[in-house]
Amino acid sequence: MNARTKTVKRKSLYRSEMWWGFLFIAPPFIGVLVFLLYPLVNSLYMSLTTFSFGQPAEFTGIENYNRALTNDPLVWKTLWNTFYAALGVPIGMIVALIVAMLLDRKLRGRNFFRMLFFLPTICSMVALAMIWQWIFNADFGLLNYYLSVIGLNPPAWLVDEKWAMIAIIIQGIWGGMGVSIILYLAALGNVPSSLYEAATVDGANGWNKFIHITIPGISPVTFFILITSLIGALQDFPRFQLLTGGGPNYSTTTIVYYLYTVAFEYSEMGYASAIAWFIGVIIMLVILINFLLSKRWVHYN
């Protein structure tokens, strides 16, 4: 009888706990429903119409997709630009790993250096873009002064069609390493030192240890950084808008920047929705390919 009241009590406690639980998790689900799923579904429909503010939308089926894929060279040009810009991801990861390995030891001033490499990560992109515009300035910029001092004939960077993207990639590596360095530092510390000791006993040199112990040991973190950075890079555009305005001649317009232009400058919302879904599918494909490839090079434990 005593046991029975106990179970009844527990059950009612459980039941009330259930309602509290649902109450507590309700806000994020309402948020997801209203601010995510509803617009998402709506945008799928919108992409099949000629929707634009102030005009009645006409249902045109897959016409917008057709236009984006076969009849709009800017979609392909800006997609190419996006992948070109994403070259900064692997380069930045290599630089970040080198810096992390330099910092992964007892060192006076270690925290200071770590802070310095991390600093741009938390700074306003608007302010950083202003600084780099000034540094990349063709005639009076600091960079070109020092390049000409060492005898080079520097390009006009942000206003040169060939060099603008390279300048933006350089800026991105400088500004984006911080997170990767922090993650790599944590990962390097987690590689068991017993592995290195065993390899030393076996007579392995530093390079062999790096290739056979360090690289596989940190591969899950490498994969994590790669995926998150790629997702970010494929959608990046404020940096481009602020540094070059997408020019010269669309050479630094990324596909999301182009999407923004179509939507907010030409206000072709229907067509822009189709481009947005196209970008969404490409991002998903890139992630999927990376997950498939990861089985070959990512080693867990």
Binding site: P28, N42, F113, M130, A186, I225, I279
Partner: protein, 286 residues
């Protein structure tokens, strides 16, 4: 004995050599990281005529404080700052509370479908923001919310999956004993949350608070899409429109950049640990 000391000495010299190389590389890298900031500061303090001097002058001949005076009178930096606070703070306070509540429910309360619901919520993070930009704008426009702060404030009040994920990890590893004791005393889950969970979760909440404050303070895209009237501009938008207005007046543009970076730098100076721990645990900066 003598061979032993020689090898020891050899190792020591190679150690010293390695350490020197490491330092040289770090110093070179450190210079590359620091120069843009120092150049910004130097330019912002120059009299107008010295900006285009050749070779570049690192130390201004006279310190031109009037650059800073000018950007405060010409540009609406202070208004922009307060607008930013209006946008960031309500979202931050309510959003964090909402996130902590649901993180607690996902970590400790028992209810059917709990883990599946959690995975669903976390799963929504894979939807690319670029896909959401236009439909969200269309929806907010149909609400009559464009050219107002509402689209920047209200969605965040419903919590963010990333923050919930992070806080749940933290709450999950708290011991159950205190909670059980409070349960026996007849405290309801909300009471337990307020009196027991919140105090124990403080470091994680502060970490998330700092990261999302900084992300909100730096947000440029949201205000760019939704705000039209200059008097509603946030600081970042004010800064961007001001720099395109001044085109080549680099002294003023750099002074503006300094002013915009100062709050972040102050926050970072006091809360470096939280920034770095938060990022080391989530890999995401805001």
């Amino acid at each position: 004995m003598s061979t032993q000391t020689t090898t020891a000495r050899k190792e020591k010299t190679s150690d010293v050599l390695a350490k020197t190389v490491v330092y040289l590389l770090l110093i070179a890298g450190g210079i590359v990281m620091a120069v843009p900031f120092l150049w910004m500061l130097s330019t912002s303090l120059k009299p107008e005529g010295e900006v285009f001097s050749y070779p570049p002058q690192w130390i201004p001949s006279t310190i031109a404080w009037e650059n800073y005076k000018l950007i405060f009178t010409d540009a609406h930096m202070i208004r922009g700052f307060f607008n930013t606070m209006i946008v960031v703070i309500p979202t931050l306070v309510i959003g964090l509370l909402v996130c902590a509540l649901s993180a607690y429910a996902f970590a400790k309360l028992r209810f059917p479908g709990r883990d599946k619901l959690f995975m669903t919520l976390v799963g929504t993070m894979v939807i690319p923001g670029a896909v959401m930009m236009i439909p969200a704008f269309i929806m907010f426009k149909s609400f009559g919310w464009t050219d107002s702060w509402k689209p920047l404030i209200i969605p965040g009040m419903f919590g963010a999956p990333m923050t919930i994920f992070f806080l749940r990890q933290f709450i999950k590893q708290l011991p159950d004993e205190l909670e059980d004791a409070a349960k026996i005393d007849g405290m309801n889950p909300f009471g337990i949350f307020m009196k027991i969970i919140i105090p124990l979760t403080k470091p994680a909440i502060i970490t998330q608070g700092i990261l999302s404050f900084n992300a909100g303070y730096n947000d440029y895209l949201g205000p760019l899409i939704y705000l039209n009237s200059p008097e509603k501009y946030t600081l970042q938008l004010e800064l961007a429109s001001f720099s395109s207005y001044y085109v080549t007046e680099w002294t003023l543009i750099m002074a503006g950049a300094v002013v915009a970076l100062v709050p972040t730098l102050i926050l970072f100076a006091f809360a470096q640990r939280f920034f770095i721990e938060g990022i080391a645990l989530t890999g995401i900066k805001g």
